[in-house]
């Protein structure tokens, strides 16, 4: 009986190529949409979590100007080296303080060039930003004090300028300065703001001042709090110290700001949660739309199929034989759609996560849920209208308009 049902079902599928492919398409879209959305949502969450871990939650960034109001930053005076020394000396709970000054520059090696940013700083910068030297070495005290022409390059710069060559000992030009590569940073990937953290060149602060910027300004001070010390306390102390040093009178606004990375990472975690639930909602809607599509096709074909059922009953088919045929038909179409949907979703997710640079997180549960839901709709709406028709008197089914 099952064999006959399969034979009859396959004949029906072949006979109605259009209806069959539309049903399959509905299931493919439902299944694929859900899997893709959830995979991307999971990937984005995973990436943000990774980045927060790589940033460290005890980092404070001090910069001139208020955080709000775009025009103010340029008016506020930059910091100087005494500010850095004062923070390191006067504030308790500080683990490391790194001054930095940033300039855009074109790095040239041989006939290759690459637009990047040059950061003048010292070795503390590596500590507070969680940078690791992949090959080569840090700056030495001597080199820092003397402002030698040396640099540590990020992975992107290495790749663009040196390709497969060994960069250590190579001389790259930064504007008028020709400097020797002494180290390469391990890759950190994109930051949460979307900028490439590997697209950087580090030089001693004095080298930047003298040979590139031509001033003695410090644009950012990175401070990491000691373990066990709350960043809130350090932040408050820094604010008090800087108000005093920069002579901000009482009642006046700060002309600098202290960013607490913990706050930022909390905000970002919150926003990925929102993103994930948004994608989840979109996925649920796609599933519903796909389901309604399947329903439509199945219900629209009921009239034609009711007459077909009448014919089958008239020539001696049992009700259960007709139902078995329709069930097999719905199961075959739904499983075909489910399998195609999974294949499409896996292919599309791996491409999309690659393009969006988020990790590919495989979640078998969402595949199970998507397939059960879509196939369930396919089977239910393929089976129940047929059951209703098969329970009619054959003559009523035959005369169905």
């Amino acid at each position: 009986m099952l064999w006959n049902a399969l034979l009859l079902a396959l004949r029906e599928i072949r006979r109605n190529v259009m209806r069959s492919s539309l049903t399959i398409l509905g299931i493919v879209i439902g299944v694929a949409a859900v899997i893709i959305m959830v995979t991307i949502g999971n990937g984005a969450t995973a990436r943000v979590t990774e980045e927060i871990a790589s940033l460290g939650s005890n980092l404070l960034i001090l910069r001139p100007g208020q955080r709000l109001g775009p025009g103010q930053r340029s008016e506020a005076a930059p910091f100087d080296i005494e500010d850095v020394e004062a923070i390191a000396r006067d504030i308790g709970g500080v683990f490391a303080v790194a001054p930095s000054s940033v300039q855009p520059a074109t790095a040239i090696y041989g006939n290759l060039n690459w637009n990047t940013t040059v950061t003048g700083t010292d070795n503390h910068y590596l500590t507070v930003r969680n940078h690791v030297i992949a090959s080569g070495r840090e700056f030495s005290e001597n080199e820092l004090r003397a402002g030698r022409a040396i640099c540590i390059i990020g992975e992107t710069v290495r790749k663009e300028l040196f390709g497969s060559q060994d960069p250590l000992g190579g001389k790259i030009r930064l504007g008028k300065l020709s400097c020797e590569v002494i180290g390469v940073l391990a890759s950190k990937g994109q930051s949460m703001g979307g900028s490439d953290q590997d697209d950087t060149v580090l030089v001693p602060l004095r080298t930047l001042w003298r040979r590139i910027a031509g001033n003695q300004e410090i644009s950012h001070i990175h401070i990491s709090a000691r373990e066990g010390v709350t960043t809130e306390k350090v932040q408050r102390d820094i604010e008090l110290l800087m108000r005093e040093r920069r002579r901000v009178s009482a009642g006046e606004e700060d002309d600098f700001s202290v960013l607490d990375m913990k706050e930022i990472s909390e905000a970002l975690t919150g926003s990925t949660e929102v993103l994930t639930s948004l994608l989840g909602t979109v996925a649920a809607v796609s599933l519903l739309v796909g389901g309604i599509g399947i329903m439509n096709i199945m219900l629209v074909s009921v009239t034609e199929r009711t007459r077909e059922i009448g014919v089958r009953l008239a020539i001696g088919a049992l009700e259960r034989e007709v139902l078995m045929q329709f069930l097999v038909e719905a199961v075959v179409l739904s499983s075909l759609g489910g399998v195609l949907g999974i294949v499409l979703a896996l292919a599309a997710s791996s491409v999309l996560t690659d393009v969006m640079r988020v990790p590919y997180v495989f979640d078998p549960w969402i595949i199970v849920i998507a397939v059960i839901f879509s196939a369930g709709i396919g089977v239910i709406f393929g089976y129940f209208p047929a059951r209703k028709a098969a329970q009619l008197n054959p003559i009523d089914a035959l005369r169905h308009e």
């Binding site: 006959n4 034979l7 009859l8 004949r11 006979r15 109605n16 007459r307 077909e308 009448g310 014919v311 089958r312 009953l313 008239a314 020539i315 001696g316 088919a317 049992l318 009700e319 259960r320 034989e321 008197n393 054959p394 003559i395 035959l398």
Partner: protein, 244 residues
């Protein structure tokens, strides 16, 4: 020859209606399609049922073919009380003893003539090879062997009706029910179909019950039952088939 023998046999009728009533709907909207019909049809007879539309002739045939159930009365098929049969048993009865030919052909569209004719055999559980041979034989009998690969859309009305006759006779039924078999065809095509049905009746001894409103087509039958307002108004075979 066989049909002549069957008609005069004193054996039990293949179809016997005793006071069959059919009511559609309920309450004020109820329509009495049959108001107490008694008919006996002997094996091998060729009966034409005539009457104006709404006279109950089609309802009567649908009940005979077990496509519909009577509201009241007793229906004996080959001596078996159909009213006592379950839905599935009635399906088995249709499967094994009767064949249908409809005015609108009711073939499966986009399905070849051969597959259409094979369909009843699939439900009978006939093996693929056997099925193929029997279906070809039935198509041969209606003169459409060469058209086995064609779908209904590629066949003329007369050819489609012949495919549906092949489908009805492929199981070698005892009774062939034909509901206005020539209704959708022109006169020449209609005569061909009637010749074919007549031949099946004479050569194979298949009992034929046909509903028609065309006197010319009815003239192929030996017995004509006229319906009016849900009762048998005239039956020129009454008495012949009425063995005690």
């Amino acid at each position: 020859m066989k049909s002549a023998f069957s008609r005069e046999a004193e054996g039990p009728p293949i179809i016997e209606f005793r006071g069959i009533v059919k009511v559609y709907g309920a309450g004020h909207a109820a329509v009495k399609a049959l108001r107490g019909v008694d008919i006996r049809i002997a094996p091998g007879e060729f009966v034409a049922m005539m009457g104006p539309s709404g006279s109950g002739k089609s309802t009567c045939m649908n009940i005979m073919g077990c496509l519909d159930t009577p509201t009241e009365g007793t229906y004996l098929f080959n001596g078996v009380d159909v009213g006592a049969l379950s839905r599935n048993q009635r399906a088995i009865l249709r499967r094994n003893y009767v064949g249908f030919v409809f005015q609108g052909f009711n073939l499966l569209s986009r399905t070849s003539a051969l597959e259409n004719v094979e369909l009843p055999l699939i439900y009978r559980g006939v093996s693929a090879g056997e099925r193929h041979a029997q279906a070809l034989e039935a198509l041969e009998a209606v003169g459409l062997r060469e058209w086995k690969r064609h779908t209904p859309g590629e066949l003329s009305g007369g050819q489609q009706q012949r495919v549906s006759i092949a489908r009805a006779i492929v199981t070698a039924p005892e009774v062939l029910f034909a509901d206005e078999p020539t209704g959708n065809l022109d006169t020449a095509r209609g005569r061909e179909i009637m010749e074919l049905i007549k031949r099946l009746n004479v050569e194979r001894g298949i009992t034929v019950v046909m509903v028609t409103h065309e006197s010319e087509m009815a003239s192929y039958a030996e017995r004509i039952v006229r319906f009016l307002d849900g009762v048998v108004e005239e039956d020129n075979g009454r008495g012949k088939g009425e063995g005690t």
